[in-house]
């Protein structure tokens, strides 16, 4: 007898597609910090569910923000 899975995973959706956020700006720390967890690494797509084109823009923005000390490179 096949055991039925007790839970099923909710399909992740890209926040930027759903909320129609076109402009991923390096100055928008509030938005960007949602995608940098405690260790201040960039959150991978498989966890955040962001689509590929948006992830590319997002990681660029995070890297710019790091350069100007808006976001940390690493947490000590």
């Amino acid at each position: 007898m096949a055991i039925q899975k007790q839970y099923y995973r909710r399909k992740k959706v890209c926040k930027f597609c759903v909320e129609r956020i076109d402009n991923i700006n390096y100055k928008d720390v509030k938005l960007l910090s949602q995608f940098v967890p405690e260790r201040s690494k960039i959150m991978p797509r498989r966890i955040s569910g962001v689509c590929t084109p948006h992830q590319r823009l997002l990681s660029d923005a995070i890297k710019k923000a790091r350069n100007i000390a808006l976001l940390p490179f690493a947490t000590e």
Partner: protein, 136 residues
């Protein structure tokens, strides 16, 4: 001419007059080279995400500029020389702006088309205009 954003951080010990002086100098460099400083914004004092030149905080200043590469190079050289400026970043914006315009135009076109399609009952994505209206 391209659009750039030049952001820099001034040390927290700098007085307001010092900051104004720096802004004036930078603006002078830009206009002298034939560029245009469209916007000068003081974003105020902020905690830095990491220690820069032994400072934990700094005042952010943002220039929105229309200029050539040569002007930007000169501005960056000046910023590097200034002791009060602890970090700077120049970002080219025109590609981004172009992309945003394109998305906006695309969206408008689609919205117009969808408006027509809705009359025939073809609605797939997002709430229809009628659904968004408050009920009376």
């Amino acid at each position: 001419m391209r659009n750039y954003e030049i952001m820099f951080i001034v040390s927290p010990n700098a007085a307001d007059e010092d900051i104004d002086k720096i802004n004036g100098q930078i603006e002078g460099v830009i206009t002298a080279g034939g560029g245009k400083a469209e916007k000068i914004e003081k974003l105020g004092k902020r905690r830095l995400a990491y220690i820069v030149k032994k400072f934990r905080e700094g005042s952010y200043i943002l220039f929105t500029v229309q200029a050539d590469g040569a002007i930007v190079r000169e501005v960056e050289r000046r910023l590097r020389v200034m002791d009060l400026v602890i970090k700077y970043l120049t970002v080219r914006m025109d590609d981004d702006l172009k992309r945003l315009d394109k998305i906006k135009a695309h969206r408008q076109k689609r919205a117009a088309r969808r408006g027509r399609a809705h009359a025939e009952g073809g609605e797939r994505r997002g709430p229809s205009p009628a659904e968004q209206m408050p009920e009376e």
